[in-house]
Symmetry: C2
Subunit: 114 residues, 2 copies
């Protein structure tokens, strides 16, 4: 009854809860990438990365377009807007601190393994 149907925020936050997936998003921030190239720096199978990408796509955080035999992954930052709005409603903190962001990126990229 009243089908539970997961809220969009559920899938977005759940997708962001995994460090591998956050690292992937960070990588895609620089450029679109093929699945194989996304997988390269990680110490896990290609199939595992493929699943992670599916989760990110399901959440709308990336889109995937197949050109030839290569599937290109593209960041979709707009999907974060709803979640960002939700969170900011709690904090009313200072808008954007890009220095802090840089630090996070470095920390995550330094320990990307899993």
């Amino acid at each position: 009854m009243t089908a539970p149907q997961s809220h969009p925020l559920d899938t977005v936050f759940a997708a962001l809860a995994d460090p591998t997936r956050r690292a992937i998003l960070t990588m895609l921030l620089e450029d679109d990438m093929a699945v194989t190239d996304v997988a390269e720096p990680f110490a896990m199978s290609l199939a595992a990365i493929s699943k992670h990408l599916a989760v990110l796509a399901e959440a709308g955080l990336i889109t995937q377009e197949k050109r030839g035999r290569v599937k290109w992954c593209k960041l979709e930052p707009d999907a974060l807007r709803a979640a960002s709005v939700w969170m900011q409603g709690f904090g009313q903190f200072d808008p954007v601190d890009l220095d802090a962001f840089e630090r996070f990126l470095e920390a995550e990229l330094d320990a990307p393994d899993a």
Copy 2:
């Protein structure tokens, strides 16, 4: 080596991924609450809510203080700052849209069950 030790963002995002927990945070936005009162609107056991609160506390999103036999739960919005910064780094979207936030709150409160 380099003990995997989950990143703080892991726990924060994981905590936010559950609609019950987001609803709890929303309730706490209005006022501090006792565990029993937090549990009241939900169609699940007190023990379940107690666990949810533990998850939120673990993530630093709330603090709990026991006064007498009542344990008071208090929102800690600062814990969202790191996550917010991380997300905003992707979007560069408009800072705070409180209208949108209001809409989210209503949507979540209208279907708080589970």
